[in-house]
Symmetry: C2
Subunit: 342 residues, 2 copies
């Protein structure tokens, strides 16, 4: 009998096909064609192939837009949103619109080509995390913006670009994204009722039960959530309550980078070169202390990373209903992910 | 400057890239591999290759599970939900779950193989619409169920099966799907404020402006919605307010089948053999007249068909934010769709 599970945060239902659970070897995904044989714009030395950098973590006294960097941040070459202009919110009859103001940046994670080297270098992951935080804090100063979404698309079916050089994307938006709002509203509702954070409760129950947690460090855990939408979906959460990713201490950044590296390694060992999306969900910018909604975010909300392997297809049923169908129960996924040493 | 547009029904934001609008010829999609050379289980004469039919619109005195039918409805061979059993709603600590009870049926749209013949035969489309209504009314009697979602996946990237024989899918669920609930809540909110149906207002504004309506019949219109998530997204709506698809009269079914056929023809002429998902959004079952929420559905909500061409990829940004990026403004899509005679 399949199971219908309800996500405790936003109330989304997932159909878990618990009978004929799909194992890692049951998924087939097309290998991406080799990257085109052109000069990589993200490699050290090719800085002139990107728009001028908005920030770079540089070695010693190197100059902007030249070699000598650890991490480099450049505007997207085909940005979805514009940095310049006013929001100009207005209506057209019953419709509401505003100018597409925001930022769309590419965070180049390493000066070296090739994904493998980056994922093996813990200190580079720490540097990357530091730069992400720096950009978030910087963009927060822009009064037009409400949110920064950090994400990564890997592999063609996951919408990844054909630049294989490791990079993240950053999009800053003038409205809080709907998906994040749903989590904020859901976790506030839970807090109103229980006087506890829904994520903290989830973490406690997961650590007690153990059947969906495959990694635990001093400060973090990696879990296949009870209500996973996708096979091998993995969340990374801080054990200590915190709504903001960008308030991590140096020690926390170290520990976070470590569990992120280990989780990705285990997923890759289990699934091969799998396509995926990663998103960071953290609290929106809070500039004014408004009554109600905003003032509670600090204790309601809990930042987390969602790693979504794209092994199944999202089709009409999912689009039409908002239901997801997951052929691999998270308990089964977790068993596989526990098999491998990081 | 890109535009940020807000959907008036559920408040979803879409980024419309209005500067470098993508035209039909800018989209490339892989052609599906030819269907495997096996016996088609949906063809007349091959009835034994499917589970026994749950309903069929038959010619004269033909016998169940044999030839002689116009439309045939069979259980899915790999159902997501089970028809037998109790819901058994319960909790596991903080988590909520229930048995995966529901129905998953395949509605075979024609006894003949090949998509083209079906789409040219208006009377067959009318028959299909009639059978969909019949199944919805029948499943409504099952007290465990709350909703019937009708959908179609066409093409591999849209999650379509490799059976090219025309068919629809039906999934009946024991909870109202989240996506539908969002529309119900959004349209109730609008009604509370304006004392008018948000869809009716939308239809009026679209017919007044004309820049996004590409087909209009006596009772229906086909529109590229203001806040289209996908290039060439198309909605079909009844002009007369109605929340239930299954209350259509014979005349309405005729007119609906006609506009559906014309809309699909124009899309195909504009885009070629494009992959797509189609979903029907209609009101959930209402058995008890509850205060508030349910009793208002009749005047709040408005059924409609959503046709979603899958020419763009949904990736990390969309998953993480709930934003959509649409490179073809609906006004541009509409211009193309107006070019062709149906």
């Amino acid at each position: 009998m399949p199971e219908l599970r309800r996500d405790p945060i936003i109330g989304r239902w997932v159909i878990i096909a618990s009978e004929r659970a799909k194992r890692p070897s049951d998924f087939s995904f097309a290998k991406d064609p080799p990257a085109p044989d052109t000069k990589c714009p993200f490699c050290e030395g090719n800085e002139s192939l990107t728009p001028p950098e908005v920030y770079a973590l540089r070695k010693g006294r190197t100059r902007p837009n030249g070699p000598g960097w650890h991490i480099r941040v450049v505007p997207s070459i085909s940005p979805f949103l514009n940095t310049k202009g006013d929001l100009d919110r207005h209506g057209k009859g019953m419709y509401d619109l505003m100018n597409g103001i925001g930022a769309h940046e590419v965070i180049i994670a390493t000066p070296h080509h090739g994904a493998d080297a980056f994922m093996k270098d813990l200190s580079q992951i720490e540097k990357l995390t530091g730069v992400v935080i720096k950009r978030m804090r910087e963009l927060k100063k822009d009064q037009r913006l409400k949110y920064v979404l950090i994400f990564k698309n890997h592999g063609k079916v996951a919408g990844g670009s054909n630049i294989s050089h490791q990079h993240l994307q950053l999009i800053a938006t003038p409205v809080t994204p709907k998906r994040v709002k749903e989590e904020l509203v859901g976790s506030r509702r839970y807090f109103d009722y229980k006087d506890r954070c829904v994520f903290c409760d989830m973490i406690r129950q997961e650590l007690d039960q153990g059947e969906r947690v495959f990694l635990e460090t001093k400060r973090f855990l990696a879990v296949n959530p009870y209500c996973s939408r996708f096979p091998f979906e993995t969340w990374i959460l801080p054990k200590k309550h915190s709504c903001d990713f960008d308030t991590m201490t140096k020690e926390e950044i170290k520990d976070y980078s470590n569990i992120f590296q280990s989780a990705m390694k285990r997923l890759a060992k289990t699934l091969g070169a799998f396509p995926y999306n990663i998103v960071l969900h953290t609290a929106p910018f809070r500039r004014r202390k408004k009554k109600g909604y905003w003032e509670t975010i600090e204790h309601d909300y809990h930042w987390h990373i969602e790693i979504m392997p794209r092994l199944t297809q999202v089709a009409g049923f999912e689009w039409g209903s908002g239901f997801y169908i997951n052929p691999t129960p998270p308990e089964v996924a977790c068993k596989y992910l526990k098999l491998f040493q990081a």
